[in-house]
């Protein structure tokens, strides 16, 4: 058990990040269970504590009598320094047990630029960062989360991954482990991994070996053991009402990023935006019933005491029974002053009315995501939204009293021209002018936030070469020059981060040493603007003799084998190719949620189906 002296805690920022004891935290005697999990987010406490996936897994595992799950997050740099000075190993927040003593050490992998923190946490825990160097006593290092649709750049640091939704698979893994342990650990570490590889959705990277041709092109994956499946399909929970949901989330003592109840209405979004990985990764749409959501809400408010609830999903406004649910919830919790919010709004007046109803009084900003500045480009990306849709929605918002609008766009989308960039400025200007038209006065604030597009695996744009750094920066300047209205605030991302992300997200196993090198040279918290050190990364690529541009800027041929295709959300290559071609033809593909099947292949490949309660009512 690790004890933290006051002089450590008093010397670091926000010491309550490290002291645990929160409401609903689960404390079990490790000697009374057969399997111990340390669940980690390789990011700081306030971010990690806000992750819904980890909350669910924490509850799933702790509901098992034979298993305990505890939490651990990346210590902030000041705390890391203290820990290294005093050789204090990484510890869990419940029992202050050294992480190296757990059976499993699981990481939620939310985005690529946090990989350096994974290595840093392994190192802080005293665990060899390379999987092949781990001894029999080391925990099994497990990965999960959205990054598993290309694990290759980091797979040499992990023993196994869960592909897809983890709430069922992680429990199966615990059972498998307990059985193996009780049998006397036959075959040792490798023996367990061979068994795990046979569980649906589990990927054991050491059982595969990538092949490259004479030109250094990835040519395929050799399967090294007969237990290993050639393709690992993601896990999907079919019945969301039956799935374990977090009912007793840990309530932090300090403020965190999302310090409220998260009620997950449904999973999946099949609107089919062609840049969007989540849209493919979480298919098909599966809704919870309204009845179940009301019950969950009651239990969540009772168990936490929160007076704020976010109705979360990829596109919450698409929930088929949303209007009724919101009415019912507002009535249920009227006396308790619980307020509700939607994390994202659809661009239509239904959403505005709903937002108006939900935040009766406080008119904080409204956020819309047109994603591209011209109709042509919005058609390329299959964002089924017109300028008219946006202006109608914004007009409705102005009439309801809002005077702050945030618009999200992407830059560097396939086929983008200067005309599309200037289109962003034009659209923003129209949104500003509309306020004057409706209200007869000035006083609106429009924020234009533009990120740099990163092509992602398993999207129709996975073959597309990313825009080079200099070109991103030129387009940012172009847009800046074209925004002249003082009511418009322009925010853009550091393109240097986006091009690195572009390389890593479509990388292969040869990037492992680059990530290792960058970490060795001091990379950590790369997703944090003030801690990101671009030079370290560029030098790491150079030191390892790896060409960054081969990974981010190169347009792949449609025939080329892709290094990530074996851990799949179940979408077919044919569908993605078809969508790529439709994109170039500026043709739209409709949502399959209530319309006809668009043939992505996920439902038949995984044996699941869409669950949409709206259909049933009609």
């Amino acid at each position: 058990m690790i004890k933290l002296e006051p002089e450590i805690l008093q010397a670091v920022e926000k010491p309550a990040r490290y002291t645990g004891q929160e409401w609903n935290a689960v404390h079990k005697d490790h000697s009374q269970v057969d399997c111990t999990f340390a669940l980690a987010m390789p990011d700081v406490y306030e971010v990690g504590m806000s992750n819904l996936g980890l909350k669910i897994l924490y509850e799933v595992l702790n509901r098992r009598e034979d298993t305990v799950a505890e939490r651990v997050y990346a210590p902030w740099i000041d705390m890391e320094q203290k820990m290294r000075e005093r050789s204090l190993p990484l510890f869990s927040l419940e029992s202050f047990t050294e992480i190296g003593k757990f059976d499993f050490f699981g990481f939620s992998l939310q985005y690529e630029m946090i990989y350096s923190n994974v290595l840093n946490m392994l190192d802080l825990a005293g665990i060899p960062v390379w999987a092949r160097e781990r001894g029999e006593d080391a925990p099994f290092i497990l990965g999960g989360g959205p990054c598993v649709y290309n694990t290759e750049p980091i797979c040499d640091f992990f023993d196994l991954f869960i592909i897809g939704e983890g709430e069922e698979a992680i429990s199966e893994l615990a059972e498998l482990f307990i059985r193996w342990k009780k049998e006397g650990r036959p075959g040792g570490r490798k023996g367990f991994l061979l068994r795990a590889a046979q569980v649906s959705g589990i990927y054991v990277p050491s059982l595969y070996e990538p092949r490259y041709d004479a030109n250094g092109m990835f040519s395929g994956l050799k399967v090294l053991a007969e237990e290993a499946k050639p393709v690992i399909y993601k896990r999907v929970v079919q019945d969301m009402d039956a799935a374990v949901f977090t009912e007793k989330p840990v309530v932090p003592y300090i403020d965190i990023v999302h310090n409220r109840i998260m009620l997950e209405l449904f999973r999946g979004c099949s609107r089919g935006c062609r840049f969007c990985q989540a849209g493919i990764a979480y298919r098909p749409v599966r809704e919870r019933t309204e009845k179940h959501l009301r019950e969950l809400s009651r239990r969540l408010v009772d168990s936490t005491g929160y007076n704020e609830m976010s109705l979360t999903s990829l596109s919450s406004a698409d929930y088929s029974c949303l209007g009724g649910l919101v009415d019912d919830l507002m009535e249920d919790f009227q006396d308790e002053k619980v307020s509700f919010s939607l994390p994202s709004l659809r661009i239509d007046s239904f959403s505005i009315d709903l937002a108006h109803k939900m935040q009766q009084v406080r008119k904080s900003g409204l956020t819309f995501a047109p994603e591209a500045g011209t109709q042509r480009l919005r058609d390329v990306i299959n964002k089924g939204v017109t300028e008219e849709n946006l202006l109608t929605a914004v007009a409705a918002a102005y009439r309801q009293g809002w005077k702050q609008v945030k618009l999200y766009f992407m830059m560097g989308l396939p086929t983008e021209t200067d005309e599309d960039i200037i289109g962003i400025a034009r659209l923003a200007k129209k949104v500003v002018d509309l306020y004057q038209e409706i209200k007869g006065r000035r006083g609106v604030k429009v924020t234009v936030s533009v990120s740099c597009f990163v092509p992602k695996p398993f999207t129709p744009f996975q073959w597309f070469g990313q825009v080079p750094l200099e070109e991103f920066e030129r387009r940012q300047r172009l847009l800046k020059e074209n925004i002249r209205d003082r009511s418009i605030q322009f925010h853009y991302h550091d393109a240097r981060v986006s091009v690195l992300e572009g390389a890593i997200s479509r990388g292969d196993r040869r990037l492992g040493p680059v990530i290792y090198q960058a970490w060795k040279d001091g990379a950590k918290f790369d997703g944090w603007t003030d801690l990101f050190k671009n030079e370290i990364w560029l030098q790491a690529f150079e030191k390892c003799g790896i060409d960054l541009h081969f990974y981010n800027e190169r347009t792949r041929s449609l025939e080329e084998p892709l290094p990530w295709e074996h851990t799949t959300p179940g979408v077919t290559r044919e569908f993605l190719c078809r969508e790529y071609e439709q994109a170039l033809k500026e043709q739209l593909t409709p949502d399959c949620r209530r319309g006809k099947c668009t043939g992505c292949g996920i439902c038949p490949n995984l044996g699941v189906k869409i669950i949409d309660w709206g259909e049933k009512d009609v």
Partner: protein
Amino acid sequence: MFKYRAEITKGEEIRYVSHLDYAGIIERAICRAHLPAAYSEGFNPHMKLAFASALAVGVTSDAEYMDFELTKPLCQPEVFDRLRQQLPPGVQLRRLKTFSGKHKALMAEVELARYEIEVPVLGDSAAVQPALDAFNQTPEYVYHRVTPKKTREIEIKQYIASPLQGEVQDGKLRLSLDIVITQSGSIKPGEILAILQKEFSLPVEESQALIYRRALLGSGRPLIDLV
């Protein structure tokens, strides 16, 4: 509205929680207890919850006081039991009283905070008493409080209610100090320890100190006895 005053603690488990976060902890506990809390009117209603004196990050307390209002006249034992069950580790409900009528705000009632500081003595413990004596004998001492925004000059002896008393046992100094709290300001026990260390050669390291608030008094009595 029906008013209640509670005496609660801030324990070791939540030593490093700020005053604002501490208030949030209590608010959520009241919600979980399903007490019919009264809220302020207006666009952004918040629970009617008032504390006596903010407690710094890193300081525990045996006796914090808060006033809150309910919309229904629940009897004292019921409120006590329901709230107590929902308090997290680190917060204990020690006493609870109902009161009515106009009453001075808690913040206006508090006059004195009693603290105890526990800190390892580095080096010669014979140097402790002379340091405390020197401090006690100084008629006034101007401290420069540096915040990110500005530096303020504060004469601190006006806030020291009685001479500091220290006792060394097993290499640890236990220092008792009574600090005057006024509407216009006060001084933190940590600040006094830092001054003792830097200006009066007290052989300790401020960062190793544990600070406990032992009492909050108004008219010489615990604040809960004022209602």
